[in-house]
């Protein structure tokens, strides 16, 4: 938007816009245009690259479209199961993590020992081993567990694992609450457990919410491992259909695209949530 000298003066007089204000408006318009163009090119580049990748597979005749049309809906039917497993697992993992963090901060040796043992054991062994152990080995120890629905075992396995990792997140969050807060509630006469419940934890949870969001996105991907427990989630369906029809390319490609989309969607949700929280922090 470039105006010649005389015109500019005329506008200034009509709208009572001072020259600096006009310059600021021009700069703003230019920036907005720049950012629109950036987003356009960004989107196009993504589209072209993905199109080339998938398109070339289709073009080479490697993808059986009719097969996908037939079995796609069945595979996609695993999405709700994947999401439900992830949500329940992260919720249960938060419970494990809070307990783990309280244990790691305890001055009582047995409690501290249990918490550190839990974190060490879980972090020191592969998630896939833990999942197989709970699915295959646990019924040998406790036969009654054989009767528990696999989806419950799956949620327990994921939560137990993530809880150990998130223990450290919660411990850091609890320690990030300013000392003055503990002194203030102590000075009111509150007990240590009241202080923890009423003052420290509510503030610690606010501190760790962004980190929980990251863990949830990781959880969506790791939930694929519970296909080993025959939970009929996304990957289990893709595998089953793919292997029995010798069409693993199509089914795994579909599963991968769905996981990818889910992580993108939840990243955007998390982003929005964080922005809203930042706003309410300004309020708080």
């Amino acid at each position: 938007m470039s105006l010649s000298g005389p015109q500019q003066v005329a506008i200034n007089e009509n709208l009572r816009i001072s020259e600096p204000e006009l310059i600021v408006a021009e700069i703003r318009a230019a920036r907005a245009q720049e950012s629109r163009r950036f987003r356009l090119v960004f989107g196009l580049t993504w589209g072209i690259l993905i199109g080339l990748l998938v398109g070339s597979l289709f073009a080479a005749g490697k993808i059986d479209v009719a097969f996908l049309a037939e079995w796609g809906p069945y595979i996609l039917g695993g999405i709700p199961i994947t999401i439900v497993v992830s949500i329940f697992s992260i919720a249960a993992a938060i419970v494990f993590a809070v307990l783990g963090a309280l244990g790691r901060l305890s001055i009582r040796a047995p409690i501290y020992a249990v918490a550190t043992l839990y974190v060490s054991l879980v972090r020191g062994t592969p998630l896939i081993v833990q999942i197989l152990f709970i699915f295959l080995a646990l019924p040998q120890i406790i036969p009654a567990t054989a009767g528990i629905p696999v989806i419950i075992l799956a949620i327990f396995a994921l939560a137990f694992n993530y809880g150990a990792y998130m223990t450290e997140i919660f411990r850091a969050g609890i320690q990030a609450v300013p000392r003055g807060q503990i002194e203030a509630s102590g000075a009111l006469g509150m007990t240590d457990s009241q202080t923890m419940r009423r003052v420290i934890l509510p503030q610690a949870i606010r501190i760790v919410i962004p980190a929980i969001g990251n863990e949830f996105i990781a959880m969506i991907k790791d939930s694929a491992l519970v296909s080993l427990m025959t939970v009929q989630e996304l990957l289990w369906r893709a595998q089953r259909v793919g292997q029995s029809n010798f069409r693993s390319l199509e089914t795994l490609l579909l599963a991968a695209l769905v996981y990818w989309s889910l992580t993108i969607v939840f990243s955007i949700v998390q982003d929005r949530l964080e922005k809203r929280m930042a706003e309410s922090d300004r309020r708080i």
Binding site: G180, E183, A184, G186, L188, M190, Q203, D281, R283, I284
Partner: protein, 282 residues
């Protein structure tokens, strides 16, 4: 460790103007000593505060005045000595500081002696009104309605009824500190402990907090105030104690200590305070 049966008396203590005749001291600190590691911060402080008195503790930073105040409600466990508030007495017992009955006694003392902090320490996740009722509801088990009524009374007193449903972050420093004072008052304590309540404030906001504190002092609240505000000490204090290296060097009526200091160390402190401008009149 059994304490002495007859109390050691504060040589400076004289009942204040508002103290009812024959009243026993509300607060009695006896021979308090505090070590931080090998650092000997308090070296035997004895202090008696009568009901309806305001006492100011002054001294350089690091002299031990805040530590003495924080020993009074056991935010710091004294190494040696005893604390008595409203007839409830606790011997310092650092070896058994975590014992259940010791903690319970400390909670009793804390309900009687409410503290106002330099950094306000309001709970940021609670509205002003919820900050105020937290103590009464959780600690004193007062019903929520009753606690709200009390809280509103004191919010009104500090002039912040219109901020009842705001979050602390929306308040200025002076307003935060007035809310913190109301929070302490809502516990209806026997004595108020102020730990440099205006030191974290923008100079233009000091006045509103001092005004509330002066009102409380003149109404006969029992107060122990650690402060650098000499004007407040002059206006409101019954006695001023000057503390240096963990001992009381000098104490007495504010006009004696502030205008005619007897001790060289008091004189040096006051002249330095005047020249640094920290004692600027409001």
């Amino acid at each position: 460790m059994p304490g002495p049966t007859t109390p050691i008396h504060d040589p400076f203590a004289t009942p204040g103007a508002l103290t009812p005749t024959g009243a026993e001291p509300m607060v009695r600190l006896e021979k308090l000593e505090k070590f931080f590691g090998s650092n000997h911060v308090l070296r035997g402080c004895t202090l008696e505060v009568y009901p309806r008195e305001t006492i100011c503790l002054i001294g350089r930073s690091g002299s031990g005045k805040s530590t003495l105040l924080r020993c009074t409600n056991f935010l710091e466990e004294p190494t040696v000595g005893s604390v008595e508030v409203d007839g409830l007495r606790i011997e310092a017992d650092p070896l058994h500081a975590r014992d259940k009955d010791h903690r319970e006694k400390i909670r009793q003392i804390r309900q009687r002696a409410q503290m106002v902090f330099q950094e306000f320490n309001l709970f940021p996740h609670m509205k002003v009104i919820d900050n105020l009722i937290e103590g009464p509801v959780q600690v004193k088990r007062v019903s929520k309605d009753e606690a709200i009524a009390t809280a509103e009374k004191y919010l009104h007193k500090v002039g912040l009824m219109d901020k009842r449903d705001e979050y602390p972050a929306r308040l200025s420093g002076g307003q935060k500190q007035r809310v913190a004072i109301a929070r302490a008052l809502t516990m209806e304590p026997k004595v108020l402990l102020f730990d440099e309540p205006t030191s974290a404030l923008d100079p233009t906001l000091v006045g509103e907090v001092i005004m509330v504190m002066e009102e409380l002092a003149h109404e006969g609240s029992t107060m122990i105030v650690v402060t650098h505000e000499m004007q407040f000490a002059r206006e409101a204090a019954d006695r001023v104690y000057f503390i240096e290296e963990g001992t009381f060097v000098e104490a007495g009526a504010p006009e004696e200590v502030l205008d005619h200091p007897q001790d060289e160390r008091t004189r040096r402190f006051l002249s330095r305070l005047l020249s640094s401008g920290a004692a600027v009149q409001r």
